[in-house]
Amino acid sequence: MDSHSQKAITPEPIIQLRNVAFDFENTRALSDINIDIARGEFIAVIGPNGGGKTTLMRLILGLLTPTEGEVRIFGERPGANPDRIGYVPQHSNTSPGFPASVEQVVLMGLAQGNSLLGKRRGIRYTREERAQAEHAMRRAGVSDLGKRRLNELSGGQRQRVLIARALITQPELLILDEPLSNIDPYGRQCILETLTGLDAQTTVVMVSHDLGITANAVTGIIAVNRYALASTDAQLTPAMLDLMYGIHEAGCPVHSLLQQMVETMPSENKPTDGKTACGNSHDTH
């Protein structure tokens, strides 16, 4: 194992990456990645822009194929179990002007097709499917927005709609790509409430730039900058900071900033108190 990589020893890993490398146009974007993530973990994936966080998520989802190494999700190849995995991209990747109501967007989470000629469901949604959508919208705190269009919603509300779309199949693994980007503080809090209120068996892997706001929620951190370092106690380590931002001497402004990041990390993870100011319906643990 490379000195930059650290394997987290966890029971029953549902995500396993072994010696994974990925090249983008002949440039190595990720190298020697060895990660295990166990059921029920809430992992924040952090790192600088261009460090490979999104690439790592796309490898886990099966949207990219590793150049080297192996990715196993639930013990199988990525993409083998679409119903067990919920994916939440950044809301800015979708067009708010798309002709669809919130309920229809959430129902898109049920779309599936393993081959071009496989059996398809009809154009109309059944009562059961609508009930599933209603349940997912309630969990994400957007049940009162069902008839609205996306362009009538705030960024935070749109992001929660995409979370509801991912939750409609009741996935065991939820992967979120920077869900807190370009969201106001209230919206961020609502999204975190949604995520921390999920069933304790749901594993959450979330790319985030802002570790401060997620620090209380996460159970582990993976720092990514071409290589990856994992910690199972949600603590930023000097090695992680070194990997992400390099070594800076005392007195350097970057050094002060990094020190501040370490000092502002909470000493222990505090569970949320269950208050749902955003209207979320928390799962029963």
Partner: protein, 279 residues
């Protein structure tokens, strides 16, 4: 000639039927082009169709089937190239666009004699649609509507968020190629009505108008189809009244109605806002 007499004319009945058949495809494909942001791609495919028209003239083959096959091939080529070089999409479309037109012109240059009917493929000629082409149009309508209904949920998910659709196991590359081929066939069908130069306007203006009052992709397709039929009927009436080219009249009608509706909506919003401020 009275309106009743006009409607009894064979050419006018064909024109009305062609308008209806084209509007069905136009509604479905126009909505897909707009929500998938494929307008420039559709423009490229439309102009490449000229290569197919030229090839048909050169070979002495029927124009619509030859252009349909040629344009479908060009759409597949465009799809393959743009999938591999996404950042070069605009450039690649521009190259194929120009190459298709150039190929068509060279084919026509190489065809003996003077081809009088060529202008009708550039600017449309809905008043001269033969019955055989109407059957072909009906066939294209049936195929496009059937494919869209069968793959509706996949198309909806793909159009809104291709990455999410892939994560759900939807074969998005196949869908992308299928949509491009449907666009190619729709374009060839519409060449009869408005000509390949004006195709883009009839594909995009109806969805732009319809998206203001629809809340679903299926609704957008139906409303776009209705707008498209209104444009065709209005354009035919204008062409008849003022003795103008039918293709250009249809597009002029579409543009005028679009500006009137969009302008009216803006004015209405302004008045509503002022009333609220005053209150």
């Amino acid at each position: 000639m009275t309106l009743t007499e006009l409607l009894q004319q064979n050419f006018m009945q064909h024109a009305l039927l062609a308008s209806l058949l084209v509007s069905v495809t136009c509604g479905v494909i126009g909505a897909l082009v707009v929500v998938n942001r494929l307008t420039f791609m559709a423009g490229g495919i439309a102009h490449t169709a000229y290569g197919g028209v030229g090839l048909a003239f050169f070979l002495g083959a029927p124009v619509l089937p030859t252009a349909g096959a040629f344009t479908a091939g060009a759409a597949m080529l465009l799809g393959t190239l743009t999938l591999k070089k996404r950042e070069r999409t605009d450039t690649l479309i521009g190259v194929i666009w120009a190459a298709g037109m150039a190929f068509g012109i060279i084919m026509i240059n190489l065809t003996p004699g003077y081809n009088v009917g060529l202008m009708s493929y550039l600017f449309g000629s809905i008043l001269t649609v033969p019955a055989s082409d109407l059957w072909l149009m009906l066939g294209i309508d049936v195929v496009i509507v059937s494919l869209t209904l069968y793959f509706y949920r996949d198309i909806l998910s793909f159009s809104f968020d291709p990455d999410f659709a892939r994560s759900r196991g939807i074969p998005v590359q196949w869908l992308y190629f299928m949509i491009l081929i449907m666009v190619a066939e729709a374009v060839v069908m519409m060449i009869q009505v408005v000509g390949l130069i004006l195709v883009i306007a009839l594909l995009t203006l109806p969805p732009y108008l319809a998206e203001r009052h629809t809340k679903s992709l299926a609704g957008l397709m139906v409303a776009s189809g209705i707008w498209s039929f209104v444009f065709c009927l209005g354009g035919l009436w204008v062409a008849y009244q003022f003795d103008l080219s039918s293709g250009a009249s249809i597009i002029a009608t579409a543009c005028t109605l679009y500006l009137a509706v969009a302008g009216g909506q803006k004015l209405w919003n302004l008045i509503s806002r002022q009333e609220k401020t005053a209150a």
